[in-house]
Symmetry: C2
Subunit: 321 residues, 2 copies
């Protein structure tokens, strides 16, 4: 229940197909979450109108006053600079836009802040997920692509252009001939994403005549590769080993550069659980064996809710700014 | 001249053979610098006694009162954790020590802070050197080893154990068979340090019969390799190209992870100037060609004074803490 005296935070995770929203207590308890389809068009105006309407409706239903709403945080799938400006966000059909200002028109006086969704997922996990109680956390999200976020001293590291943590395009393989979606070659994303792992499996099938559970199949998913791996499929194991090798090297680099206490692995690929985490931890420890304290490697805990948690946490920060 | 009304900072860079000291105005003008030999022994007690005596003597000579000394910063060649604790510093013969407390006995009431020397060199360059006016700066120091420091939002990134920026041991070459001094294999330091570049040149001479200015020489330095390179020596060029390739990849990774506005190159190897910087900038730009804004790559400016500048800047920070 919401209380008359207490203050609340709203976290919003804006995606290209749906908008996730969450109401949080100030100490980070998720009280209610809901989801709406994303209405694209008019450079985001429809989308912000919908978000505002949805938040207002919730406040009304719960009898929350404007002053009880301490802040709203917004996560978007694009680069947000230090002033909250987005140059271009293809998935949302938005360009040259300050989302906090757009939404702010509907909530005069309420602090609103906006950040990159992968960064906010890291902040959410650091606040109330697998990084709880830890000040230096890196989160790696392995999905269709590879994203990341870095929390140091409990705060998000955003960098000069708001691009810190964009680890998917670390150039980990100088010999790669195929192009990454970014136009580069040899990006981490080409190996450690769901699509990357499927591609590594296809390569393994082509390069070898060894029997495989996935041989002859027209199409298979990353999940299928891990399932075959669990069943002892040699080629699937080789594909996963290759993905893990690149990911572990990237993690070693991240550890040397930002010195986190804990590295979290999230996103769809992380659902493979031990089948991913066991070889990943082993390889990472080999590369880090000379460090006095090796960062812990853990599965993220908040799943798809990490973004709304992180957005709410960002809104909380705005209290003092 | 020092003035009665003004406040001052002292920056101290403690090395295994000598201690560099500098007196600074609060806005970072270096007013005087001097150097003493390092007296090792008694877990650092002699060294701290010498530093205290030297600072006091300077204050007396200049007529500076205790209250005019706003802070003292100390840089040490080792890992300093968030509480200023050093577990072990081989070069200084010190273990389980809080340098700020040791020096603090001689300066009751004066704020004293301690940090890692490579980190402080980065902070110094960001404050008054080649990173002046820039909030997000990475400095890479290419000397006997490879060190680094990261400044984000104008503050030093230290990480969980105080090891952020220890980029010399990024594992950039998985195929390396030779051991790094750290016990690992394929560390950046094995290629991009002065010793690394000399080794790459030796390898080039062994692996090829091509004529070279350095062939037949019993020993040569990194400076000699760059000089040969400037004279058109094909093998020297190959060695430098290899070093630059690893360094550029490490810089690409650093850029993706922390998103700096500027990357500074310092240390003895950077004295090669254009002979290093031209191919390094070219290779780095190739790897970063898809970024909207590519970090600038510049030579550091403060040379051996970067450490005392950074130590003074750290002392300045302690004012508000």
């Amino acid at each position: 229940m919401t209380s008359e005296k207490e203050a609340y935070l709203v976290g919003v995770d804006v995606g290209g197909t749906s908008v996730k929203l969450g109401l949080f207590s100030e100490d980070g308890r998720l009280l209610e979450k809901w989801e709406n389809p994303t209405r694209l068009g008019e450079n985001g105006a429809l989308m912000f109108e919908d978000i505002a309407g949805s938040v207002m409706e919730m406040c009304k239903r719960r009898g929350l006053t404007r002053s009880q709403l301490r802040g709203i945080g917004l996560g978007v799938p694009g680069v947000v600079d230090a002033r909250g400006h987005i140059e271009r966000c293809v998935n949302l059909g938005v360009s040259d836009c300050v989302p906090a200002d757009e939404l702010g028109r509907h909530f005069p006086g309420t602090p609103i802040r906006c950040g990159n969704d992968a960064n906010l997922a890291a902040l959410g996990e650091a606040w109330r997920g697998a990084g709880r109680g830890v000040d230096h956390v890196v989160m790696i999200t392995l999905g269709t692509g590879v994203g990341g976020g870095i929390v140091t001293n409990g705060k998000l590291l955003t960098g000069f252009q708001g691009m810190a943590g964009e680890i998917g395009h670390m150039a980990v393989e100088p010999m790669e001939t195929r192009l990454c979606t970014c136009g580069g070659r040899g990006c981490l994303e080409q190996y450690a994403s769901a699509t990357g792992i499927v591609r590594l499996m296809r390569d393994a099938l082509e390069e070898s005549d060894a029997p495989s559970l996935l041989r002859g199949k027209d199409s298979f998913s990353c999940k299928d590769v891990f399932a075959a791996c669990a069943d002892g499929d040699v080629l699937a194991k080789a594909a996963v080993t290759k993905a893990v090798r690149y990911l572990a090297v990237a993690m070693q680099h991240i550890a040397q550069i930002v010195d986190p206490e804990r590295i979290l692995i999230g996103g769809g690929v992380s659902r493979a659980g031990d089948e991913l985490m066991r070889p990943l931890r082993r390889r990472f420890r080999e590369l880090m064996k000379l460090q006095s304290k090796i960062p812990q490697v853990r599965l993220a805990q908040l799943g798809n809710d990490a973004g709304i948690y992180g957005a709410a946490r960002l809104a909380k920060e705005s209290e003092n700014s």
